[in-house]
């Protein structure tokens, strides 16, 4: 039986199919170059949407760092060359990062509350036996 060491390990599914993977050789390389930006954006946007709470917290930290660095560059670009798009594009990301962090904290609090349940030892045994019975049935089939 797996011990619970207090660390929450959550599997983040990457269920984006690899149907966009191109073939090798010259044509494949050209196709890959065209497809690569679409592939990475769709895959990562999907992963962000289905991200579990503990990864959301980590991701929000990363987003704060990236947005902070790019904002600094944006300020330099704006002061030096009067170009605003880089600075303006990064401002909403601080809100996104804050929102993700707040959502993660709330979800972790709820998960923490739900960790303790009242259950009788006999009920636990019955539950485990049910699972083993089901597994036996599957193995026999």
């Amino acid at each position: 039986m797996r011990e619970d060491d207090g660390e929450k390990r959550v599997y983040s599914p990457d269920i984006q199919p690899y149907s966009f993977e191109g073939k090798s050789y010259f044509i494949g390389t050209i196709v890959s170059i065209v497809v690569a930006p679409i592939r990475i954006v769709t895959r990562i946007m999907h992963n962000i949407i289905v991200m579990p709470a503990n990864l959301q917290r980590q991701y929000s930290q990363g987003l704060f760092i990236v947005a902070g660095l790019m904002t600094a560059l944006g300020i330099v670009d704006f002061v030096w060359r009067q170009h605003w798009p880089l600075l303006v594009s990064q401002l909403p990301l601080f809100w996104v990062a804050y929102h993700l962090k707040r959502t993660a904290v709330r979800a972790e609090d709820v998960a923490e509350e739900q960790r303790e349940i009242d259950i009788d030892h006999a009920q636990v045994e019955e539950l485990i036996n049910t699972v083993y019975d089901e597994l036996d049935k599957i193995l026999k089939e």
Partner: protein, 58 residues
């Protein structure tokens, strides 16, 4: 039409740069199989940088 096309990069660029930052944060912080620093990310970054330079955003 020409004036609109000349201003188009300035409208599109903030959205593209926003997405680039979202992707970069994921890649650098949580890079997993298929979404880490690799061919896709390098090509995406090059496309964004080239687009911004050619569109006069940087």
């Amino acid at each position: 039409m020409t004036a609109f096309l000349s201003f188009l990069p300035m409208i599109v660029a903030p959205f593209v740069l926003c997405i680039w930052s979202l992707v970069s944060a994921y890649v650098f912080k949580l890079g997993v199989r298929g979404s880490g620093i690799g061919f896709d990310y390098i090509v995406f970054t090059l496309v964004v940088v080239l687009g911004c330079v050619l569109g006069g955003v940087f």
